[in-house]
């Protein structure tokens, strides 16, 4: 050791600066950046020691388009098209709570048939979102067939909503005051036929993906988010329900017609990545069941949209309404100052809240678990950045 000290001071005399090997040299910093196939529009910096992740720091914002600022320059109806852009494949749900909040502010009352059609559209949209999420989860695990099958079945649901609203994904169907137009005739049995076919396909997903021993091996016991941690971190949606907390906004705070539907909140207690992957699957099966009830409880005729004055406005006030979207509780806090334009709109989305669980779970996980944990958090970067 003596000569080491000697060499160090001698080299310092020459002006060289020797740094003792600190922890940082052993770690390799990897940027799982916006272009990395393992992380869509999102970047997180990961410090890796060998195969173990030691530190993770999420860096969102690559798709931050200032939605909240733009809402202040448009009146209530004009906000619908650009408020659904953060999750275009779950567009009915993300505008659902906005419409509810605006209705509470401006005192509009939605006719009963409109409420039913709104619920049907939001359930179909939930299926579309979850199937897209499941497809990406498959490709993240390297299971290319699991990308193709859900994407294929999702097209059939997209046809249903296309018949309803005219657009493939960006429907702008769910507006304050009800629904844009009535359902086309023949929609009901077409929907029932599609649900019947889909439930058979769900069985096949289970065989090729969920009961596949390699998938089980890769996801079970990975990224344990205990119940206390889930509550402390305030995660929501399937991530929360996978940790054993049966909390679903449709049951906790039933909006529109959900108090007339009896369905069971799907949740699991194993709190690992497999549970977080399986709960959306159970949700899909449950929402088929809900869709059936909605379809036969829907009143045959009646208005679908409340009469609105040209620029709906209400007394100044504020409203906070929430809806169970594909990624959990999606709340809108709208403050209105009496003018037709909202004074302030705060969008509280599920992905932004689940992002907090990412560094918590990734620290200590292995490099191979990174995509498994990241995408099991049901995280859609475009929505988190708003």
């Amino acid at each position: 050791m003596a000569d080491l000290e000697e060499r160090i001071n001698e080299s310092q005399k020459l002006g060289m600066q020797i740094i003792k090997e600190s922890d940082d040299d052993r770690l390799m910093t990897l940027s799982v950046g916006p272009q990395h196939p393992g992380s869509g529009h999102f970047r997180f910096v990961v410090k890796v020691d060998g195969d173990y992740i030691v530190h993770c720091d999420p860096d969102p914002g690559y798709v931050h388009r200032g939605e909240e600022k733009m809402t202040e320059y448009r009146n209530f109806i004009q906000n619908i098209p650009h408020l659904e852009r953060p999750v275009i494949h779950d567009s009915t749900n993300i505008t659902y709570s906005y419409s509810l909040a605006v209705e509470e502010l401006t005192g509009i009352e939605v006719p009963r048939r409109g409420q039913f059609i709104r619920a049907i559209a939001s359930e179909i949209n939930r299926e579309i979102y979850t199937l897209y999420w499941l497809a990406i989860y498959g490709i993240f695990l390297g299971h290319s067939t699991m990308f193709m099958w859900p994407t294929g079945d999702r097209e059939l649901f997209i046809d249903l909503l296309e018949a309803l609203s005219g657009a493939r994904v960006t429907h702008a169907f769910n507006i304050p005051g009800g629904v844009r137009n009535d359902i086309p005739n023949g929609f009901k049995d077409r929907c029932l036929r599609q649900i019947g076919y889909f439930e058979k396909r769900l069985k096949e997903y289970e065989d090729i993906f969920y009961n596949n021993p390699l998938v089980r091996q890769r996801t079970e016991g990975v990224g344990i988010l205990t119940k206390e941690d889930a509550i402390r971190l305030g995660v929501t949606g399937s991530v929360l329900r996978a940790s054993g907390v049966p909390y679903d906004i449709r049951k906790a705070e039933p909006y529109d017609v959900y108090n007339e539907i009896d369905f069971k909140v799907q949740y699991m207690k194993t709190a690992d990545s497999f549970a977080r992957a399986y709960v959306p699957f159970l949700d899909m099966r449950e929402s088929c069941h809900i869709l059936r009830q909605l379809l036969d409880k829907m009143p045959e005729s009646g208005e679908v949209r409340a009469k609105l004055q040209s620029n709906p406005r209400g007394p100044p006030g504020e409203a906070y309404r929430r809806v169970e979207s594909g990624r959990g509780a999606l709340g809108y806090y709208i403050i209105s100052d009496g003018s037709p334009k909202p004074y302030r709109v705060k969008i509280s989305v599920g992905s932004f809240r689940n992002m907090l669980a990412l560094p918590h779970l990734l620290v200590g996980a292995k490099m191979g678990d990174m995509p498994v944990i990241y995408w099991a958090l049901n995280y859609w970067p475009v929505e988190a950045d708003r």
Partner: protein, 171 residues
């Protein structure tokens, strides 16, 4: 074909066509073959800039299946790719990364600006964090309008790109 022969004014057009195909086929046989190769194997880089990536995912799904045109979407590294599909809005934070990805790609590279936001900023043109159109940072070959464009429009966009490659000079 024979009808043209009878009418003298068309004779030149017919011969022109013959001459043109002859020149193209013989003068640049290798170039023609390489162009043909590039047409049928466009490998897009895995870069999702915004919400149009949902429709790009649907395009590579079973129903629209862009792999019929040789477009394989699941490529990891951008060194092997030669097509950037700018899928949606480019924010000011994503812009330098997009330019860096464009520079890192090997040479014959093409850009498809997909969606109204990539072309002119679209719905978010007045947002404080969005680039009004992606032409500012990277040269765009084909604009695919729509918000989001349907997968068929995207495939028509790729076919236009293929036409463009077919007549482009070999670099």
């Amino acid at each position: 074909m024979f009808k043209d022969l009878i009418n003298p004014t068309h004779f030149n057009v017919l011969v022109g066509k013959l001459g043109d195909t002859l020149i193209k086929a013989l003068d640049k046989p290798l170039g023609y073959a390489i162009n043909w190769g590039r047409i049928w194997s466009l490998w897009p880089v895995h870069l999702e800039t915004a919400c149009c990536s949902v429709e790009f995912g649907a395009a590579s799904g079973p129903r629209y299946d862009v792999e019929r045109f040789g477009i394989i979407e699941a490529f990891g590294s951008l060194r092997q790719c030669d097509l950037i599909v700018v899928q949606g809005t480019v924010t000011r934070k994503m812009a330098p990364r997009l330019r860096m990805v464009y520079d890192q790609m090997p040479d014959p590279k093409y850009v498809i600006a997909m969606g109204a936001c990539a072309i002119t900023g679209g719905l978010y043109v007045d947002s404080y964090n969005v680039l009004p159109g992606v032409d500012g940072i990277i040269p765009v070959d084909v604009y695919v309008p729509g918000c989001p464009p349907r997968p068929e429009t995207l495939i028509q966009g790729t076919m236009l790109l293929q036409e463009k490659i077919k007549v482009s000079k070999i670099r």
